[in-house]
């Protein structure tokens, strides 16, 4: 057996610190995993189908604006939000963000009505993590190496 090193005060403090950090980290991980259902910012149409949210309950719905689904009737906009698996009809009255267009990621806040249509009070645009100049975007699209999730601006 190797002789034990004497615990100097410094060593003791260091181990105390490491020990409390481990406990703290574990506690944080437990709290966050317990809360994970509440930290979710929005539901996708598929998640919504599993949840059975009652009408009039406010929540956020996120996904892509389905291609060819946008119809404007006066100040009212109707479109479908899809996760490429399921989709849901959305009605919104108000100003849309600049990035809103077919194929764009959006998050709508509102509630379902009795017919299962999502009545949005607010529509936010969600963009992806890609940044590039317009010429590069054009070249990549033409060469077919990149499929734009979101149609080009206007």
């Amino acid at each position: 057996m190797t002789p034990k090193r004497k615990m100097t005060p410094k060593r003791k403090r260091l181990w105390l610190l490491i020990g409390s950090l481990c406990v703290l980290g574990a506690a944080a991980a437990l709290v966050l995993s317990a809360l994970s259902d509440n930290i979710v910012f929005f539901y996708s149409p598929s998640q919504l189908a599993e949840k059975h949210v009652p009408p009039e309950r406010r929540f956020r719905l996120g996904g892509l604006v389905e291609e060819g689904s946008v119809r404007k009737e006066g100040s009212e906009v109707r479109f479908r939000i899809t996760d490429l698996n399921r989709s849901l009809e959305v009605v919104y009255r108000g100003i849309l963000p600049d990035l809103f267009r077919e194929g764009q990621g959006v998050i709508a806040e509102g509630a379902l009505d009795r017919d299962g249509v999502f009545m949005a009070r607010e529509v936010l645009a969600k963009h992806d993590e890609k940044y590039m100049p317009p010429e590069v975007a054009k070249a990549l699209k033409e060469s077919g190496r990149w499929q734009e999730g979101e149609g080009t601006k206007k």
């Binding site: 610190l17 910012f41 996708s44 600049d98 963009h127 993590e129 890609k130 590039m132």
Partner: protein
């Protein structure tokens, strides 16, 4: 004598910092000027965000540096609590307000970016909320370190806060992966390399370096001040 031991390291640090600060300030100013010109004038607009994307050159570096600064604060806290390093407490006092300012700049620029692109100044998603918490942790550190008449007690209390709060830094980083958020996922430090075109990525890296230099410059300068302040305090107490 306890006082001599206390001043030994800070005094050496102060001489070192006084020697490098003039040159460092000039390099920082030049780097910032080049970076801002590169980012705001030379760099191309984004294909979908247009010129708004230029907010990134301030938003992303201040975010990274505010998080890095907090890790520094936690490391200083640990070296104060474990090794009783005399300089650590002074440097922590110097760092916290700089980090808080970076966090504030990140929050403000993010808000101004969010309005035209997302359609809102603020949402309570996991990324934004955890970053706001970082800002409050900085403010808490500043307040706590000054909350006691005995400044060493304040230093120790703030050190504990810095270490505990460091748990929030990985939460901020991975919030966009663990939960769905309005904020987009990571663009730079991610699997498969950065998703930013080089024409936008290089000025971003440059600004990251320039703002890091500014961070270091401000912390050195403020640490010098803290050393002088602590010396005065000791002198007053001896009278």
């Amino acid at each position: 004598m306890a006082d001599l031991h206390f001043l030994a390291n800070p005094a050496r640090f102060r001489r070192f910092s006084q020697r490098v600060l003039p040159a460092l300030s000039i390099v920082t100013a030049l780097a910032l000027a080049i970076g801002l010109y590169w980012g705001l004038v030379v760099a191309p607009p984004d294909y979908q965000q247009g010129d708004t994307v230029r907010i990134m050159f301030l938003h992303v570096p201040t975010a990274s540096l505010a998080m890095g600064g907090y890790l520094l604060l936690a490391a200083l806290g640990a070296s104060l609590l474990v090794w009783r390093h005399p300089l650590a407490a002074l440097m922590a006092r110097a760092t916290a307000p700089v980090g808080a300012t970076y966090a504030a700049v990140c929050l403000i620029t993010g808000s101004l970016w969010g309005r035209p692109m997302w359609g809102t100044y603020w949402v309570w998603d996991a990324r934004l909320t955890s970053f706001l918490l970082l800002f409050f942790l900085y403010l808490g550190h500043i307040a706590l370190s000054r909350a006691y008449d005995d400044s060493e007690r304040g230093d120790r209390a703030a050190a504990i806060l810095a270490i505990v709060g460091a748990i929030n830094v990985p939460i901020i980083k991975f919030s966009v992966d663990w939960w769905n958020t309005l904020h987009q996922p990571a663009s730079i430090m991610r699997m498969g390399g950065p998703s930013i075109d080089p024409s936008l990525l290089w000025p971003l890296f440059w600004m990251m370096g320039a703002l890091a230099l500014l961070f270091v410059t401000l912390v050195l300068l403020r640490t010098e001040t803290e050393i002088d302040r602590r010396r005065l305090e000791i002198a007053e107490n001896q009278d």
